[in-house]
């Protein structure tokens, strides 16, 4: 078998029909794992594929397999086989061009970067949600100004979630206090959504049912328009500003 004398930098083997290695060239010995049969130089998961194809005893052109290097690494390679009339198989194992591997590594690193970014975004989103929740909780403090009057300045825009949260904390807080009159100050309120207005209506109903007298102060002209459209049936006192509300209530108390 003259090929075994060549110095070609490609591993070459001669095998029998039991797939046992009869001879191998120097490159095969130095580059690939030590082996009794040709399957020993093929990585475990590629063996079924190799066996299936080798046992046909036909010429094989470029069978893609993972080979095992002498250092135990996995090399993606093409396997070529030709059988002689004496049932000797000549096997060449040619390592694959690295270009594919390089592209695939780049793909992997892009994917893991995307994953990291995704992860950071997720964490930022969770933090933002917590902050928002905290913010809503703090946006309607309950301040007792006299023994009978509490002031609730409301901050920011109003939507369904926010009015629901305000409603639950406020009704509980008001119930536990000794006050009789609640001033809801809208000076610092921005846009009120339709859903927020409905939530507000049910909050006011609850407060009235609990026996509180409710004063709304500091509505903006655009709020007034929205409140008008709501068809309010509740008996609520409206004051132009917090100042006039306080003066009014204190004057009543003193008489």
């Amino acid at each position: 078998m003259p090929f075994l004398k060549t110095g070609l930098a490609i591993p070459i083997f001669a095998i029998n029909t039991d797939l046992e290695i009869l001879k191998s060239n120097d490159t095969a010995k130095s580059v690939l794992a030590g082996a009794q049969t040709i399957l020993d130089v093929i990585e475990e998961e590629s063996r079924p594929k190799a066996v299936m194809n080798l046992l046909r005893f036909e010429t094989i052109k470029a069978l893609e397999i993972n080979a095992l290097s002498s250092s135990g690494n996995i090399l993606l390679a093409d396997l070529y086989v030709a059988w002689s009339e004496e049932n000797i198989g000549e096997v060449l194992i040619v390592e694959k061009d690295k270009a594919v591997q390089k592209v695939s590594e780049q793909l992997n690193s892009l994917r893991s970067r995307l994953n990291d970014t995704n992860f950071e975004l997720l964490e930022a989103k969770e933090t933002a949600e917590e902050l928002l929740h905290e913010n809503i909780k703090l946006s309607s403090p309950f301040i007792e100004v006299t023994d009978t009057i509490a002031l609730i300045p409301i901050y920011g825009g109003l939507d369904k979630t926010k009015t629901e949260l305000i409603a639950s904390t406020l009704s509980r807080r008001a119930y536990l206090s000794e006050v009789e009159t609640l001033i809801l100050d809208f000076t610092a309120v921005g846009h009120i959504e339709q859903s927020g207005l409905q939530g507000l209506e049910s909050l006011l109903k609850v407060l009235q049912l609990l026996g509180f007298s409710v004063v709304i102060a500091g509505l903006h002209p655009q709020h007034v328009q929205e409140w008008n459209d709501m068809n309010f049936t509740l008996d609520i006192r409206f004051m132009k500003s917090l100042k006039s509300a306080m003066e009014n209530l204190l004057a009543v108390q003193q008489t």
Binding site: E44, E45, P48, K49, M52, N53, A62, L63, E64, L76, K96, V100, V103, S104, L107, N108, R111, S112, N115, F119
Partner: protein, 220 residues
């Protein structure tokens, strides 16, 4: 293997993500995650593995198909509304060190998300010491890991041993092609390991966990 999956496999291999998505839309009558993952994508990817065994495609083709499959999952998850956020149990998912197969893992992450879990998907090939640090810091209720190739089994076993001792004593879920071959769970971490052979099994397990029955430590 259905004709649908074979056709899908061909679209994945040709890199036609839009055609693959329209093909999926023509089959899925509703937004059914499990049908898409378990009955369409998984068989398609298995079929692609078989094509490689028959030497009809190369590893490069497989990589392209995986990337397209990944894109389809991301696209589907982006369009699906995530379930109720009330649960907030925590799960961390990753592929064991050296393991590059991750599509199944990504699908499992989506199933957890559907059940309202807080999900940390850490991707494939995560070094064990990173997994250990993450588990100690975040203290998930469940750690799900997967392995696709037989020579990851020793790594899987080591991961089970190390992670079972992390803070919070998480339940360990093993998935992936090697899951049915994992027989060492009892000795490695008694009572803490569950193997999942497919997504439907995971789905029923999560449904039970929601009700608080049939599961171990994290839910008892």
């Amino acid at each position: 293997m259905t004709d649908h999956s074979i056709k899908l496999a061909k679209l994945l291999l040709s890199g036609e993500e839009q055609l693959a998505i329209s093909h999926i839309h023509s089959i899925l009558t509703e937004n059914d995650r499990l049908t898409l993952y378990e009955d369409l994508l998984t068989p398609a990817m298995t079929y692609i593995g078989q094509l490689w065994e028959r030497n009809e495609i190369t590893v490069a083709d497989e990589h392209l198909a995986t990337a397209i499959c990944d894109f389809i999952i991301s696209d589907f998850e982006f369009r699906s509304s995530i379930g109720e956020q009330g649960n907030r149990k925590k799960v961390m998912l990753f592929g064991v060190e050296g393991e590059e197969h991750y599509i199944g893992l990504k699908m499992a992450a989506a199933v957890f998300q559907e059940f309202g879990w807080s999900v940390r998907y850490l991707g494939p090939n995560l070094p064990l010491r990173h997994a250990e640090t993450a588990a100690n810091v975040w203290q998930p209720d469940v750690i799900a890991m997967s392995a696709a190739l037989s020579y990851r089994l020793p790594m899987l076993k080591q991961s089970i041993q190390v992670l079972s001792h992390t803070a919070g004593q998480p339940t360990l879920l093993i998935g992936g092609r090697m899951a049915p071959l994992v027989h060492f769970e009892k000795e490695a971490a008694p009572g803490q390991v569950i193997t999942m052979s497919n997504l439907r099994e995971l789905q029923s397990w999560l449904a039970l966990a929601e009700k608080g029955v049939g599961t171990i430590n994290a839910f008892s």
